[in-house]
């Protein structure tokens, strides 16, 4: 069970790291590019909003996995 939890956490950390790198790459922040508009938002803003939600979701998933762990209480 513990092995599975550690593996899942590693996967989430990997995803977080990839999203971090993508946030500062042309995938999310291309220079001087405003199009295409995503739901009426300029590209970088739309992509940035998605990244923000993605990090909250990743944090939520970590919190679910960590629930089982012995904590500081």
């Amino acid at each position: 069970m513990k092995k599975r939890r550690v593996a899942l956490l590693k996967i989430l950390d990997g995803l977080a790291l990839l999203t971090f790198i993508a946030s500062f790459s042309p995938l999310v922040t291309p220079e001087h590019v405003a199009e295409p508009f995503i739901l009426g938002l300029p590209y970088t803003l739309g992509a940035g909003l998605l990244v923000s939600f993605l990090f909250v979701i990743l944090a939520y998933l970590v919190s679910i996995i960590n629930k089982e762990e012995n904590h500081a209480d």
Binding site: F24, G40, V56, A59
Partner: protein, 471 residues
Amino acid sequence: MLTKFLIAGAIYLGILVFLVRRTRVKEKTTSSYLLGGGNIGFVIGLFTTAATLFSAFTVIGMPDFFRTHGIGAWIFLAVSDTMMVYALIRVGEMLRRKARKLDFKGMSGLMVNTYGAKLAGYVAFGGAVIFLIPYIAVQISGISIFLNAAFPNAIPVWAWSLIIVGIMILYSETGGLRAIMYNDTLQGILLFITIWIIGWNCVSHFGNMTSMFDKVESISNELLSVPGPKGLFTTQFLIISAIAIISLPFTQPQISTRVVIMKSSSALRKMAIGLGIVAILIILPTLFMGMYGAVLYPEASTQEFIGHVLLYDQAEGIAALGLIGLIAAAISTSDSQIFALGSELRSLLTLGDKKAILITRVFIFFFGILALIFSILSTEHLVLLARTSFTGTAMMGPMILVGILSSRKPSLLMPIVTVMALITFILAKIGIIPSKIGVLEVELFLFSILAIACVLEGFLLGKAKGTTSKN
């Protein structure tokens, strides 16, 4: 408008007084006075952390940042804040575990205990004082200058600063951290409501968001992409900002204390997730305000623009609420920072609790006065100074993380490298050494050196572990 502001101000002060009376600590000990009893639930934890994090720099600075530098400001703050939430949930639990084990009073004291050397604690405390006092000061001065502009015939700028610092010191001294946290909750709710009403009004001016961005595009296409019209949001700038903001829960004592004193790990997890959602919801309306300003007031000064968007373009009642929200935003961050500096000092004192608390209270007053003096003298730009504060304290991040994560006593490598990094950063900021080393901004260069030092320390710790197990 003055009458409505005075009525709203009186109600606000009345609620503050009520909360201070409710939370007043008669027997002041480290646990009850400095750590708020160490039993903070999810809701109070969420609002106090949010109010501490989102200061005047969010209400005044961010709309102006969006107006001047465009939508890259979202990556600068909102994306970095949600990254911070991930870091908080990943490392927060380990910090709490270490804090429980080592009788946490403040991060500086925790560093003394984990490193087994006073140097580590002095570095953490010195870094916090050097980078927090100017940030507190610039918030107070920003709000005071703005209030003076709103009511030019009332009182001078320094008198507004004095009133703000006076309120902060009074309720911090009386009620301690619990009073601050309850007031933060009031201020956080007030800030949230105000900023959304004003943000919504800004979008309504254009009809909808699509029309708003169409209009912005017709004025300056550069505002809709990075690096923005003035080229500020370069990849390096955004990465440095992200690292600085991600480190906040461990490097800014007012936030790390809140992480430690949460009632339970479950409350901490809920607070962290809530904080991510609140960050998105607080920064979004500042984007609307900024885009509104980019169309209507592209050439105005910061003060003129904020004056219009918060006051003159709003109904009088909303404007009065806006002003109170602004004061609340500044106070809720500054009081927590001043108080946290006091707690950090306490964590370094090895005297009896009663005497240590007395000294701490004297120093909270002293830090408040210091911030007041700096606020009267300061002229720096709010957002960029806030970023300097975050980046400066982030230099301590690797040292603190090594202290929290290692199960053994680390060597003095990290404290020594951190001192050198802090000195280099300060020298670069005041222009004595270049702000670029090769192609790298000095901050990124220093973060790289600190990362190498972390790897070295890890190697040393691993070697020590190997030697012990062989023996």
